[in-house]
């Protein structure tokens, strides 16, 4: 700005010095506090409740992890040690932290702050400091908790778990702080891309570790002196970030804030796909696509199948999700310390659940904005059945990898592959049931549990999809637990797959209980 320009030309002539950023924040917060019904006691109550919830969760996780049996199967373990696996897993976790930090800013402001604060000529550093501290603190707490619990469960030493938890927490905070520093220079996109690259590198190194049979000399540990170094580095990075906060452009702050708001909304409504969109759509480079002529489309059915396929192949995130989840059962059966039948079954179920969500992006979008569906001359049931095709094909291929690994582990591949093929459609039915789900109903009853109050309306939405997985994959899970894909289980799998296909493609919106009571009432 030119040195000759002093005061703005138009507007009130009587002016005071520009206020401090702290007073702007204070004014906004004070008014919000005044209008909110929540007092200090409510806040303390919420904090107490959260701590209790986290504590119960940690204890349940620890108990469950320590109860899992480790039984060598007939085929014998391949021999991947937990210490060898820990390094790639840590790399993936670090990548996830950096990637998430890049997507959420890490420094950002909400829409109101962007509009009403960022246009003020006050020192932006003062406005942004709380926002800049929030994400590193959350990362530190989450990192410390997860690392501490896992270490306690696997190593069984409380003092070691404390040391590792604190070290990993500090490292997570340092990663996020460094991401903020990069954001002030190069923007958020490069941070997110760096995190993604680190995650891919972690996955590749996991495959390499598996293929080469690499064994490290010792377990991953974070000595106290490393934590000390991390504290010093964290202080330095924190100070540097504070001095550079005013160099972050408003557009970057605004974009990050919008992502955080969308992601929060998705979390509150338990919509994992919306969460995925929030974390990828805005950060993704807007690309022009070459329009296809759709020559394969011969009718409404093939139009829907083609559109679902296009959505999938044009979404690298979902392809990576499929590949990465297919790797999970492979790694679990390869690590003797993890490979028990229960763990393998859980790995297949959880990884499959995440994978199936990637296959129904087209259906989920259609549920939100059914524009294409309404244009096509198909019945509601016909539309649902058409949407089953892509998930069924993709999940069958996914099952070949997952059940192939289980087959190698148990030493008999062909029958396990057959079970995988038969179970593929069950995933598709469950995926579709999960895709076409209503918004959570918060007006329904709340059930008190030892872990706190559970709103039934929301719980019903979360369970929609996983409930079909439980039913549809039951024979496959039993086969993994007993260690053999018995003919009766193969037959049962055909039946449960058919049931879940019908269940998932049903357009009935009432629950079974509601339908029964309605039929009794003659409605």
């Amino acid at each position: 700005m030119s040195a000759t320009v002093l005061d703005p030309a138009v507007g009130p002539a009587d002016r005071t010095p520009i206020p401090a950023a702290r007073s702007i924040r204070g004014y906004t917060a004070a008014v919000a506090r005044q209008r909110a019904d929540a007092g200090m006691m409510t806040l303390l109550g919420d904090v107490y409740y959260s701590v209790i919830m986290v504590g119960i969760g940690v204890l349940i996780a620890l108990g469950a992890l320590q109860q899992l049996p480790v039984v060598d199967p007939p085929g014998g373990p391949v021999g991947l040690s937990l210490d060898a696996l820990a390094r790639p897993v840590l790399m993936v976790a670090a990548g996830a932290v950096v990637s998430l930090a890049g997507r959420l800013g890490p420094v950002g402001v909400g829409g109101a702050e962007a509009q009403w604060w960022l246009s003020l000529p006050v020192d932006r550093r003062g406005l942004l400091t709380p926002s800049a501290r929030r994400v590193p603190v959350v990362a530190a707490l989450a990192g410390a908790l997860v690392a501490g619990v896992l270490d306690a469960a696997l190593a069984g030493s409380a003092s070691r778990a404390l040391r590792v938890g604190i070290g990993v927490g500090l490292a997570a905070a340092l990663l996020v702080g460094s991401a903020a520093l990069v954001q002030s220079w190069r923007g958020s996109r490069v941070v997110a891309q760096g995190g993604d690259a680190l995650m891919v590198l972690g996955a590749v190194s996991a495959v390499a570790v598996l293929a080469l049979g690499w064994q490290p000399s010792g377990a991953v540990d974070v000595p106290w002196w490393v934590s000390g170094v991390l504290v010093v580095l964290l202080g330095a990075v924190g100070a540097l970030v504070t001095t550079r906060l005013d160099r972050i452009p408003a557009r970057s702050l605004r974009d990050s804030g919008a992502v955080a708001a969308q992601a929060t909304g998705a979390l509150v409504s338990f919509d994992s796909r919306e969460l995925g969109r929030a974390l990828t759509d805005r950060i993704a480079r807007q690309e022009r696509r070459r329009s296809r002529r759709m020559r394969t489309v011969r009718g409404p059915l093939s139009a829907l199948v083609t559109s679902d396929l296009l959505v999938l192949v044009r979404s690298p995130r979902h392809l990576v999700q499929l590949a990465a989840t297919a790797l999970v059962p492979v790694l679990v059966v390869s690590a003797p310390a993890l490979a028990g039948s229960v763990q393998v079954a859980l790995a297949v179920l959880f990884a499959g659940g995440v994978a199936m969500a990637a296959t129904t992006e087209g259906a989920r979008r259609a549920e939100l904005t059914p524009g294409l569906d309404r244009l096509l001359p198909l019945s509601a049931n016909g539309l649902r059945r058409a949407r089953l095709v892509v998930p069924a094909i993709v999940m069958t291929v996914w099952n070949l990898a997952a059940f192939g690994a289980v087959g190698v582990w148990y030493g008999s591949v062909p029958l396990w592959l057959a079970l995988g093929v038969l179970a593929g459609p069950a995933w598709a039915g469950a995926a579709l049931r999960s895709a076409f789900r209503p918004a959570p109903r918060w007006d329904l009853a709340v059930v008190a549990t030892p872990a706190g109050a559970v709103p039934m309306g929301a719980a019903a939405v979360i369970a929609r999809g996983p409930d079909a997985v439980v039913v549809g994959l039951l024979p496959a899970v039993i086969a993994i637990l007993v260690g053999a894909p018995l003919p009766v289980l193969l037959l049962a799998q055909v039946v449960t797959s058919a049931i879940v296909l019908a269940w998932g493609s049903s357009t009935e919106t009432r629950s079974l209980f509601e339908r029964l009571t309605d039929s009794e009432a003659g409605r």
């Binding site: 700005m1 320009v5 906004t28 909400g110 932006r124 408003a250």
Partner: protein, 230 residues
């Protein structure tokens, strides 16, 4: 009489998304006490140009300067001199209409914020809504609040993106009068608009934004706003 120094100067300013320009490069100069209107059909790049002028979008090429310096919205001086009302519609959920205006006025160091806010609330027909939360306002009333916020603070350059949107005809005329007064007080005004009346009454020249972005006379721009002209 010497011509006033340029408040805003764009030289072959090229804007767009994903490296692709949305319109031809723009070259124009806006001086104190003058107004320039950007006109063009939907999607021609008017709002994108405004965002580049405000530093909210990195230009693809060319230069844009405000008060002789390259645009950098990160500097407090830029924010002190440039007031903008775009189509953004975000509010603090707990702050009333009046409190949003107080926050803006005090944040810009306006000494008599109370009187200024009262005056603008009255001017924009919001006095009866001063104590309500913005979410309770109609779409047009929220637009009035945004315009009031753009005017409650000191400025050298006023940038408005289609200020006529969502306003009734009486308020449109009032906004036109307000912008004429803005020029007379020595301010510079840059607006994007589809309103021929606003264009004719406020602008001193116009920029038709399109494949070949060019500066034209106001009457030529008014003709261009007729249906089918662009």
């Amino acid at each position: 009489m010497p011509r006033p120094a340029p408040v805003l100067s764009a030289n072959r300013l090229e804007v767009g998304w994903v490296g692709r320009p949305v319109c031809g490069p723009a070259t124009f100069t806006l001086r104190a006490g003058r107004a320039i209107a950007l006109v063009g059909p939907n999607g021609s790049g008017k709002s994108t140009l405004l965002r580049a002028v405000l530093g909210l979008l990195e230009p693809l090429g060319g230069t844009v300067k405000v008060l002789g310096s390259p645009v950098d919205e990160r500097t407090a001086t830029f924010r002190a001199h440039v007031s903008a009302v775009l189509d953004d519609d975000a509010w603090f959920p707990a702050l009333t209409v009046a409190e949003h205006l107080y926050l803006t006025a005090r944040g810009h160091g306006v000494a008599g914020a109370g009187d200024e806010v009262d005056e603008l609330l009255d001017e924009f027909g919001l006095t009866g809504h001063a104590e309500v939360l913005p979410n309770a306002l109609s779409s047009g009333q929220r637009r009035r609040l945004l315009l009031a916020a753009g005017l409650v603070r000191p400025r050298s350059l006023l940038v408005l993106d289609e200020p006529e949107q969502r306003l009734d005809s009486a308020m449109r005329r009032h906004v036109a009068d307000r912008l004429v007064a803005e020029k007379q007080a020595g301010g510079a005004v840059l607006i994007a608009t589809h309103d021929a009346e606003l264009l004719a009454s406020v602008a001193d020249s116009a920029v038709i934004v399109g494949d070949e972005t060019r500066v034209v006379r106001v009457d030529e721009a008014v003709d261009a706003l007729r249906p089918g002209a662009l």
